[in-house]
Amino acid sequence: MVIAEKYIARSSAIAARLIGGEMMIMSAVDSTFFTLNEVATVIWQSADGRTALSDIVIGKICPQFEVDPDQAGRDAEQFVNDLSQHGILMVSEQPILNSPASPPEAQ
């Protein structure tokens, strides 16, 4: 499995709400609007700055959605890169301390 060790944390400059199982996110920086599917929502909710992306994939995505770890790892990397380019996620090779508040409660 090829996943570079990455730590991800949610940006504080966003608005987000879980509606009908999908996470709605809007960037306060450029008003870009995103909806995340169930898998992406799990990654988003796990982005606490302390859990490595590989641990999120292996510990949560693979067992929950019964997907191939290699494919899930590649998709997760792509997803994280996309969101980080919009300033929605912060990505680091080290744990991100003082990451923003916990995600909103599920509906």
Binding site: I19, A28, S31, T35
Partner: protein, 364 residues
């Protein structure tokens, strides 16, 4: 369909109040001639009460939160409230006159991740703007606030309420918005006061002048398209509802009263006595609002404008019947297209109908 439209559709189908307008105070440092509020404090909610309501709104799925007033910065706990709202990851929009916003406040608003700040500007001319706000020097302070907010990279929208006393100053305000690098929105709607006083209606733009405003390409885009006669309504129009009020949106007063919309003062519950979810799901008033379709409107369903009119059910309610016409919107449809509304043809006059009086905090 855009993602935002999809989100609204999803919220509608799931019965989620995606947008809430919360007035945190009715107190204000301006005394605008057209304002519909009573600025005395009759027992505003405390910080703890507002924070509890924000928690409930978050649980209910509210995404867009507009904080307004009164003047929001009149509350000493204003930043505490915004901070709590942002901690709950609301998309926060502020409505303010900007008079109390200097550089430190602008910096703090930016740091909190507020999405947008809407500021009222009535004229580019100080004597006209200040005469409307009744606060000397207010235009200068407001424009300075816009510059402070812009310098922090915030999105600012100038809201230009148009009435007889600032008629045609919209051109100057648009130029000012352009110079400041901010967006501009115009609203010719003047509503009765919430206590039932209709004197503010005399400030409305007379019909002939409204016609002229609707023929301004800068405001409406393609005039021929904007002023075109309405097409015959299809079944989808007749099965539709007029706006999001009570469906995916509602309004909360500083005293905890819940209305379908800020312009629709139908008391539907009070958050000092009930939980938000209980009001949203079970209020008979909100259920009634949700039940109304265009085909249920006795006059408007027969009107040529039914599919294109901006009919506001709240203004209709304030005229005495939420299923009735809103005469201000009848006038707009007429001045836009030259075609009289069904209500006009029946010869009904808005001034003949007594207004419903609302006392803040009186719901039980």
């Amino acid at each position: 369909m855009s993602l935002l439209a999809e989100m609204n559709q999803k919220a509608l189908s799931l019965g989620i109040p995606i947008s809430v307008h919360l007035d945190i105070t009715y107190r204000c440092n301006e005394r605008c001639v057209h304002c519909y509020l009573d600025h005395d404090d009759h027992g505003e909610m405390t910080t703890a009460e507002i924070e509890d309501i924000l928690n409930q709104l978050s649980d209910a799925g509210v995404f867009f939160l507009t904080l307004s007033g009164g003047e929001v910065l009149m509350r000493r706990d204003f930043f505490e409230i915004v901070e709590h709202a942002r901690r709950l990851l609301f998309n926060v929009k502020l409505k303010t006159n900007g008079v109390m916003i200097r550089e430190p406040e602008a910096r703090r608003i930016r740091a909190l991740g507020v999405e947008q700040v809407q500021i009222s500007v009535y004229s580019h001319r100080q004597e006209v703007h200040d005469a409307i706000t009744k606060l000397p020097g207010s235009l200068k302070r407001t424009v300075e606030a816009i510059r402070f907010l812009k310098s922090q990279g915030l999105k600012v929208v100038i809201a230009n309420v148009l009435m007889a006393s600032n008629l045609f100053d919209n051109v100057g305000v648009m130029a000012l918005a352009k110079e400041l690098g901010v967006s501009y929105t115009l609203d010719p709607t003047i509503t009765p006061r919430m206590d039932g006083d209709t004197s503010t209606l005399a400030l409305r733009i007379p019909g002939a002048e409204l016609k002229q405003v609707f023929r301004s390409q800068e405001l409406v885009g393609t005039v021929e398209e904007f002023c075109a006669p309405p097409p015959p309504p299809g079944e989808d129009i007749m099965d539709g509802f007029p706006c999001s009020a009570g469906h995916t949106a509602c309004y909360i007063t500083p005293y905890g009263d819940v209305f379908p919309c800020v312009q629709f003062p139908l008391p539907s519950g009070n958050l000092r006595r009930q939980k938000f979810a209980e009001i949203w799901r079970n209020s008979p008033q909100l259920k009634e609002v949700r039940s109304i379709r265009a085909r249920d409107l006795p006059t408007c369903s027969t009107c040529a404008h039914v599919g294109t009119c901006t009919r506001c059910p709240g203004l209709a309610y304030m005229e005495g019947n939420m299923r009735g016409p809103s005469t201000a919107d009848c006038e707009k449809s007429f001045q836009r297209t030259g075609i009289p509304s069904a209500n006009m043809l029946r010869g009904r006059a808005s001034s003949a109908i007594p207004l419903i009086q609302i006392q803040a905090g009186s719901f039980s």
